[in-house]
Symmetry: C2
Subunit: 493 residues, 2 copies
């Protein structure tokens, strides 16, 4: 079958030139303008020697210039590593090395986070705006098998892996979303989730594929989001539970207008109390399950089912499939096991990491590592996120990654990290450490500083609790559920 | 990239089991019911020995049982030859032989049209309903490269060619249509065009891919169609100009409700007077250009542009491309040439006919044979349908095919067929013949009967005009424009 499609943005600028593509504060860009600016930026990149097949990273905020830069890199055919701007310098260096990026595009604010004594060039958006431009050879087509973006995600081992997202993955994800949520010429999607995450990037992809307006925000603000929904025609928004909770709170007595048709909720299940409040306030919540490897949601629950199927993430939608495996066989309804997913939106593997790819994908099925079950009607219930994943304000935190930093501190013998429930963030990380030191109190402060220097702030353990030893099973495997019990006892005391 | 998708209807019955799939007179079928009935029918086919990879033909009317049969054949993996029930016995025999079908499924009404002294089995729907059933091995997935359907279309030579339509072609056509026209949970598509044509079949495909209701009619009736739009929530309808004209006429003084959002017009351009009437009556007309080889529309004009770009078929939409070639080079805006199309909805070729495939497809581009140009904004204007195609009430008629029948009549020396404008049908075929006979009048009557026995009635020349010789150029090529001139002179006289 044909596996090339016309360059999306260029095509979109041709089909609906005058429709608004991006709105940001008081700025508006039509698809035609977006295409023109992207072409100019691509020209500057080409003049600087950037070419098809290069690996380049971006470390930027949500901003129209970021959107233009992403498309400009696509126009040339660069594989774009989407760096999380909350990460520490050490974490970013690791990802740049692993991806073998030849350049990093960033802004002055983040310069202190970028290692310069390395094989990659570092360019700021400001200096680039002064660059000369040539007429770049803009890609006329996107090959669906080509790599568009790479996003790093940690795993069981704690080493981040670069998830490959092809043009095909993004395309099919956008199409799957449209088949699920519908599509209207009047749609306008509010994007206050970071575009370096798949939740944000997928909105930008849908924009050019559908011809849909994106209202972009640099940061999330409940008040602003509610204003856009009430006064500025926003019809869809992507949120994580923390954001939704704040929006409902900020809303006070008012309810949502009928023009708002979808609150797409990712990043963990929502508590019943929140869903009930949303129902009263006429907020149509679509709970969903997805990950970087599935290029956004792959399972979604419609508002009609949200209370009837409380705790469920919904059904696998066209064009995807979900199954549960237990002991390498397909589980029966109600039976727990590992969640497997399949579909054209699912990654083909990890960048420069064949071992991880081979471990994760078998016969077209991606083994998520998450645990769950399907009920008799086929609704998915996610019980445990893989590797005891902690989800804090929509950000994924892998305990193993924090444990590895903690263990590298000289006085720490061993460390165990778990998530603790948190009213505001859903969960926050908490660490248990066995230390060789007289004064635990002093050393704990030092450990915290050590973590702050090496980890994104949302990953720094909220609490570091010294203990004599960590609970382990006979095979030496850390028993996190015992740690959770200890933490529960402490809190009650 | 992944090239399999879950079996559409089965998946749809899982995702939205209780939504209405088909409405026909006073019958309604949910997706769950449609899936169950399809499974049973597949079981009967399997019990009769029908298996994956078989080629089977259907010669049926628009009816829910026909829809079930099509899906049942898909469930097993049969390549389905969609026979046009207006064709003559000779024409059908030709297609059955060419496709190497091993069986034909038909109904009692059409039995007299099916040759039985041949290699294919002939089954009627009635007798099949009595067959025993087994549990069939239902395909869990559709491979997008597999052949779903074959539809015959004539060409320059007059010999019909079997257009291959894969699951991928149908899928991408449905997705392209959704990206163009939008998609709503409340959509309901009125199908009174034949499902053996791509215009009708594509509606059935969209139904299971989108989860959309199809209101099916056996035959077109302007009154019924208008009723469904006004009283039964129809939001979209596919028409050809003849149908639209009758509907506007039938409408009288009333206008369309705002719930009706798209009148998809195929089968040739609409006259300005009709478009103006539609505007007054609030009928949102989307003119389009497409053919069997593109699995439905590939170029569409939105209502906003319908009068501004009068005569245009619109722009090539996601995910397709159009270009104009002249002397094997890309034409400039405004320059006439052959229309080329490319996209995942475009056929990969003709069944058992490598020569025709190689002639039509080069480097991924399908050479339509139609003549047209693109204006500066990229709007397509179709000037001449390929091989002097005559479009009569939405049916394609190839002059060469009729000329070949005429020439096989002993007394006919040579024949030339052209289209004549017709108030009701758009065009009707008219033949010029050079005959060896004393009494032209008697022989003309005989020729007409001869045609009636061999051709679908809409192809039988409305008028057969005897003449001394046909106008030809130096190379002996028939000059149809001279025939048109002669016909014009006759009409004025």
């Amino acid at each position: 079958m044909t596996k090339v499609l016309p360059n999306w943005l260029k095509k979109r600028a041709f089909v609906t030139p005058d429709r608004t593509a991006i709105e940001y504060k008081d700025q508006q860009y039509t698809f035609k303008q977006l295409h023109q600016l992207t072409g100019e930026k691509a020209g500057q990149l080409a003049a600087a020697g950037v070419k098809k097949g290069d690996v380049g990273a971006i470390l930027l905020k949500n901003h129209p210039d970021t959107v233009i830069m992403i498309h400009a890199l696509f126009y040339i055919g660069v594989q774009v590593v989407m760096l999380n701007n909350k990460l520490s310098k050490d974490e970013l260096t690791w990802q740049l090395e692993d991806s073998q990026a030849s350049f990093v595009i960033t802004e002055t604010t983040f310069l202190n986070k970028v290692e310069t004594q390395h094989q990659w060039s570092v360019w700021t958006m400001d200096e680039m705006s002064e660059w000369p431009s040539i007429t770049a050879a803009v890609k006329e087509e996107h090959d669906l098998d080509d790599i568009a973006t790479v996003m790093y995600t940690s795993g069981t081992t704690g080493y981040p892996k670069g998830v490959i997202q092809t043009y095909g993955n993004h395309w099919w994800s956008a199409v799957g979303s449209a088949l699920n949520l519908g599509l209207s010429e009047n749609d306008s999607w509010y994007c206050s989730v970071p575009v370096f995450h798949i939740s944000g990037l997928s909105i930008l992809m849908r924009s050019v594929i559908y011809g849909m307006t994106v209202i972009l925000a640099e940061k999330f603000s409940a008040k602003e989001a509610n204003w856009h929904i009430h006064e500025n025609g926003v019809t869809i928004m992507s949120v994580v539970p923390t954001m939704l909770n704040r929006m409902v709170h900020e809303l006070g007595e008012s309810i949502y207008p009928s023009s708002f048709r979808c609150m797409l909720l990712g990043g963990g299940p929502a508590p019943e109390s929140l869903l009930k409040k949303c129902k009263t306030k006429k907020i149509p919540v679509f709970q969903s399950y997805g990950m970087t490897e599935t290029s956004s949601q792959i399972v979604t629950l419609s508002p009609d089912d949200s209370l009837r199927k409380l705790g469920s993430a919904g059904k696998a939608l066209m064009p995807s499939q979900v199954r549960i495996n237990t002991e390498d066989k397909e589980a029966k309804p109600g039976e727990e096991g590992e969640i497997l997913v399949k579909g054209p939106n699912v990654t083909r593997g990890y960048l420069n990491n064949l071992a991880a790819t081979e471990k994760a994908i078998h016969e077209g099925w991606f083994y998520t590592g998450d645990i769950g079950y399907l009920d008799k009607e086929g609704f998915l219930y996610v019980l445990d996120r893989r590797s005891d994943l902690i989800i804090s304000g929509g950000e994924n935190i892998y305990p193993a990654e924090i444990e590895s930093v903690l263990s590298s501190f000289p006085a720490v013998q061993e460390a165990g990290v778990i998530g603790k429930k948190d009213e505001e963030w859903g969960e926050v990380p908490v660490a248990f450490v066995v230390v060789n030191a007289q004064s635990a109190e002093t050393i704990i402060r030092e450990i915290k500083t050590y973590c702050e220097e090496r980890l994104a702030s949302y990953k720094v353990p909220r609490k570091i609790i010294p203990c004599n030893k960590l609970p382990r099973n006979a095979a030496g495997k850390l028993l996190r559920r015992e740690l959770r019990k200890t933490l529960g006892d402490q809190d009650e005391a």
